[in-house]
Each structure stands twice: as structure tokens, then as C-alpha cells.
Amino acid sequence: MSGPRAWPAARRPVIAGLGMTAVGKVYGRTPADFAADAVRRAVADAGLQLADVDGLLTSSGVTGGISIDLQRDLGLTDLRMLSHLQSYGATAGTMMQVAALAVMSGTASVVACVFADSPLQPDRSAGAAYGTRRAPAGWWGLLGASGVIGANPMYALAARRHMARFGTTTEQLGHVAVAQRAWAVLNPAAQQREPITLADHQASRWIAEPLRLLDCCLVSNGGIAVIVTSAERAAGLAQPPVHVLGWAQSHPGHYLRRHPDFGLVTGAATAGPAALEMAGVALADVDVVQLYDCYTYTVLVTLEDYGFCAKGDGGPFVASGLLGPTGKLRLNTGGGQLSGYYLWGMTPVAEAIIQARGQGGERQSDQHDIVLVSGNGGVLDHHATLVLGSAAGAS
């Protein structure tokens, strides 16, 4: 036995609390307000008091607005750890890793990790929240002036490369969208709960071809916080402990540089196996998978990189009937970012915790002892993998 499983209970990192605000078209609240609300909810969920928190890690989304000032908003005093982290969509995973290291080292004993954002406004489209930032000068200005603005075109270029190299099709991407919507139907917290068909996907308009509207994630307001503490501390608390068994990051560093892997192989290919090794489990041991799904394509390429299928076979793999509530692969069981809600890396982390606890209601996986979670930031530039386990999975 190696990795966190072998550490003494006083140092073994465990997720003891999960707090989620109202999510979606929730208007009139700032990111900082969502963040404070989420932390309070997570602390209450754990059966702790705010004063028990001695470490706070904050992160913000596209609208910013969150900083270490959150400490004062929460009235927290004498913290032993406080920092604002940023690795874009991988931040939720990296925060959990920093929190786990803090617990392991004794730097802090109860660490709150929080993300919140409020990009949606009642008077503008969801796409406008992410698509209209145009710098006037410099390299970013040049890219914007060229039309290379926002995530949609860059991910479309990545997806096209995968298609051109491996023969992946828009219909195959559609299978991911349809399956995740079927999961979202079972999730009361999901924003999109009307079932869709492959024909609906194929009829949805192009956003950045080869990506259609139904290939793209939602835009959401809200906040999620997670409490990380030790197994020893968690034993007497309110929720079933979710053990943080393994983790790894990968930051390839190829953005806006020539690289043969662009669109074909991501940092998940190294972070995934490293996290599984740390956890002492194999891919075949994984019961539930929660993948960062900013686009359907991201799910497909991450499945390949984690080794669920051979490189290049992601298209046939997702179209084979394995996905969705009737399939064998328990993947993005809350609907993910495509149909559930988009709170960056906290979307897969939160659903992973719910599943590992066995609190997924209608969408709960029968087997949920080992849960694999991915985070993806930038344009496939930043990756964080977590391996979480139930009490049985950690034994």
C-alpha cells in the first residue's frame, strides 16, 4: 500500500463537506456573495462551524470578483493558510491537491476550497459572457483582430484536428451530448433537463464548426465549496468521508506554440496514469468517471488519454452505447457542464463527491468506491486529475 492510503488517519486527506449555492440563471448576486454562501453551506454540510476552518483557498471564473478578501467576508480569523489559485478549468482539482497537501503536512486541518462566478446577465446571451473580450493591443489584440476570440474557435481547431487525423465525426460527438442530457434529466440541479436526440444534436446550429451548440457547455452563475480535512477529523462528522486517494497535474505549455499533440493528446495522458498510480488503483477499478466537459470533444479526447480506449478510437467508443444511464460507463452522471451546470472544475468535482457518498438519488451509480475526476484549463493547457474513494474504496 502506498500513497495517501498508507498515511496515518491524522494526515490522510478526506472531503468532509460539499456546499452548492443555487446555480444557473440566478441573477443579482456577485461572485463573492456566491463564494461566501458556498463556504457556509459546505461547512454546515460537514457538520462543522465556520470557526473550525483554518485554511481557505479561493478561485474565480471569467468574471473574477473573488480574492483572499473572502476571509473577511466570512469573518474568518487566524487562518493558517490562505491563497487564491488559478489554473483555469483545472483549478478545482489543483485546489483540492493543495488542500490535501496542507492536511498531509499539518499546515492546516480544515481547508475550504471555493469557486464561484456570475457571468450570466438577464439582458445578454450566454455566449456573450465568454465571447466578447477583445483586447485592443498587443498579441491578444492581434489574435482578437484576426477573429481568434474565446474558447470556441480554439477548441474547434483542436476537434477538427482530431477528426482529420482519426476520422472522428460530429455524430460521434453527438452521442456524448445525448448521453449527458439523459443523465441531466435525473439531476434536479441540472439546468437542461429536456431529453435530446442525436437528430436534435445534428440540427443544432454551428457555433464554431465542427462544434455545434449542443457540443458546447452551458454558462452558469453560482458557487461550490468543498471542505478538505483529515480522515481522523472526518470520522466524527456529518457526511460519509470521501477519501482523496490520488492526484496529479499536467501543464504541457504549448499554447500558441507549434506542437504535434495539439488536439490529439492532452495533459490528461500523463496526469491520469500518475494519479491512478498514486491511488494504487487501475483504470479497471474505476466505478464512476467525472470528466471536464467544456465541449463534447473534451470528453472524447480525455477518455482516450485516460486509456478507456485506444488513442484515436474515442469516436467509435462514445458511439458504442456505453454512455448514458443505460450504458455501462458511469460518466458525467449529473449531466456535466454540457447539460448540468458550468462551474468550471467544480462541476465534475461536486458530482464525484455526490456519487462517492452514494447521494446521487435517481442517478446514483450502484458501484461508487473509486471515482476518477478530470479538470481541464485553457485550451487543453492545464490538467488536474483526482482519484476519490468511498470508505470501502479507501480500505
Binding site: A145, S146, A156, R205, W206, I207, E209, P210, R258
Partner: protein, 131 residues
């Protein structure tokens, strides 16, 4: 299909001087390796001693995407073809592809660089066209 306005800053001044003269400038290290224009270090050897050198102008198509505006009324929505071009010197660049039917595109097609301006008071923006 038009380019937007962009102004120079300290990091891009020489690049836009080149663009004004119809040249796409790459970074080049003393060993002759080429890197993308925003590079601060040579992507091949890590040298920080980077000068500027004009690309010959030939490139090949690495990937493409077609960004569609939302349809309004009965009119066909506007679209912009975006590409990654690989210069013959090695570096990649991201910009529009002008004057091409997206249905006809394939990886490896030959490209050349052109320059467009949003307005006379703004900098020249490199775009690709089929060679």
C-alpha cells in the same frame, strides 16, 4: 469577412513594423531555429537571444474552424474561417483564411500570408489565403 482593429504595444512593435512592410516576422535564435512571434524563448533550444526574421510566406494548413454568427431573420448568417497555418520555417500561426470555401479544405493545403487592416489608423493584421 473583416479583421478587427489592433494597436501595437512594446512587445509587438517590431512585428507590426514588419506587417506594415508586408512581412510576417518570426523569432529566430542564433542557431537559426524559428519560433512563434510571441515567444520569449526559442521553442527548440531555449535561447533567450531572439531576433526577428521574415517568414518566406509559404505555409500549410494544420486545422480549420468555421465560426458562424447567429442568424438574424431570413439572411444567411456570416461566417469566418479560422485556421492554424504552419509556416515552412516551422512555427504555427492562428488567423483567418480569406477567400476560401470551407467545404473544400483539407489538412496540408498550401497557404500564403496576406495583410488586412480594419482602418488606416490601425495595424496590419496577417491573414491566410489559399496559395
Amino acid at each position: 469577412m473583416t479583421v478587427g482593429p489592433v494597436d501595437r504595444d512594446a512587445a509587438t512593435a517590431e512585428f507590426f513594423d514588419g506587417a506594415t512592410g508586408g512581412q510576417f516576422l518570426l523569432r529566430r535564435c542564433p542557431l537559426g531555429h524559428f519560433s512563434e512571434p510571441p515567444s520569449a524563448v526559442c521553442t527548440t533550444c531555449g535561447s533567450t537571444d531572439l531576433g526577428w526574421a521574415a517568414a518566406a510566406g509559404g505555409a500549410t494548413l494544420v486545422s480549420w474552424a468555421v465560426v458562424w454568427e447567429r442568424a438574424t431573420g431570413d439572411t444567411e448568417p456570416n461566417h469566418t474561417v479560422l485556421v492554424i497555418g504552419e509556416f515552412d520555417e516551422g512555427p504555427w500561426w492562428w488567423s483567418q483564411l480569406v477567400g476560401a470555401d470551407p467545404a473544400s479544405l483539407a489538412v496540408g493545403q498550401r497557404l500564403r500570408v496576406e495583410f488586412r487592416r480594419a482602418a488606416a489608423e490601425h495595424e496590419a493584421v496577417p491573414v491566410f489565403a489559399l496559395a
